[in-house]
Amino acid sequence: MSESCRQFEQLLALAATGDFDALTPQQVAALEAHLNACSPCAARLARSAPAADVRLTPAVELPSEGNWEHVWEAIDAARQTRVRQAWPASGAVQRLWRPLLAAAACILMVVMWRSAPMSETQTWELKLSDNVVVHEIETFGDLTSLVVYPAEDDGATVVWFLENEGA
């Protein structure tokens, strides 16, 4: 052991026990520099340092996974019970909103289908009927009717209503 090693012996002893609070920052820096330069001292410190898990042994027993699971289940159950008790109607709405929405959509579709007026886009082909059968014509007052049938493949059957000349 060299002279310099002897000078660091006390500091190494403190470091080996993990009592770094007893060292000043200058002593820590000097010890670090020495350990970087002196491999025997570094090896000695490594051998003497206690295992970390030994020093960190918990003072009390930690809860197991099962214990945690049980605690979380109890918390969830308590929260759900409180929400139901405080807002029973709100809970029902939350549970029913999807079926209610679906039912409302269906009813809306049926109503729209039943009551929808003819849209302008649903245009029909504007063609006249080639074959019109007039079953009955009745006029009231001074009106006279006249049915004009088309010539062969030319025009369409037209029913005229005319006021009487003498009226």
């Binding site: 269906c106 009927s129 005229w160």
Partner: protein
């Protein structure tokens, strides 16, 4: 009634997955097929009210397909004044108010193959009453128009084009 449930396997069944097939089924039922329409005996009625005149040669663009026939009525100008109609059940009426106090009521009576039988009634407003003027029953090709013309005071004509399907 529970809308959220957990199966024995632990899988949570969402309400949307339960409801969705039902919604789709109802939607399919809500859209009537051609066969269903036939069975329910509903009709789509269309009516056009056209003022025919000799005071001009203006023709509404929508009436161009009918123009060759309309010209044979003895008029030069044709203006589309009113569109009417709607979906009605058999025996029920669709009424459209036209010009000069005239009103037309269309009642589909029956449908056989490609033919539709319907009643067309004309009324004229006189004072506070709609006075019946004519009542016709015709059978036409389904979806094809039938023309009736009412001469108006002053020489113009009220052309009524009616169809149903």
């Amino acid at each position: 009634m529970r809308f959220v449930s957990t199966l024995a396997s632990g899988r949570v069944v969402r309400p949307a997955r339960r409801v969705l097939p039902g919604v789709m089924l109802i939607a399919l039922l809500a859209v009537p097929s051609e066969a269903q329409q036939q069975k329910m005996k509903t009709y789509d009625v269309r009516l056009l009210g056209i003022r025919a005149t000799n005071s001009n040669k203006d023709v509404s663009p929508e009436l161009k397909p009918l123009l060759p026939t309309l010209k044979k009525l003895g008029y030069t100008g044709f203006k589309l004044m009113k569109k009417g109609g709607g979906r009605v059940a058999e025996g029920k009426s669709s009424t459209t108010t036209l010009i000069e106090g005239y009103k037309v009521r269309v009642t589909p009576l029956s449908r056989t193959g490609n033919r539709v039988k319907m009643r067309i009634e004309g009324f004229k407003r006189e004072g506070t009453k709609d006075v019946p003027k004519w009542n016709t029953t015709v059978t036409i090709d389904r979806g094809r128009y039938h023309l009736q013309v009412q001469k108006l005071p002053g020489g113009d004509g009220l052309v009524i084009a009616v169809t149903a399907r």
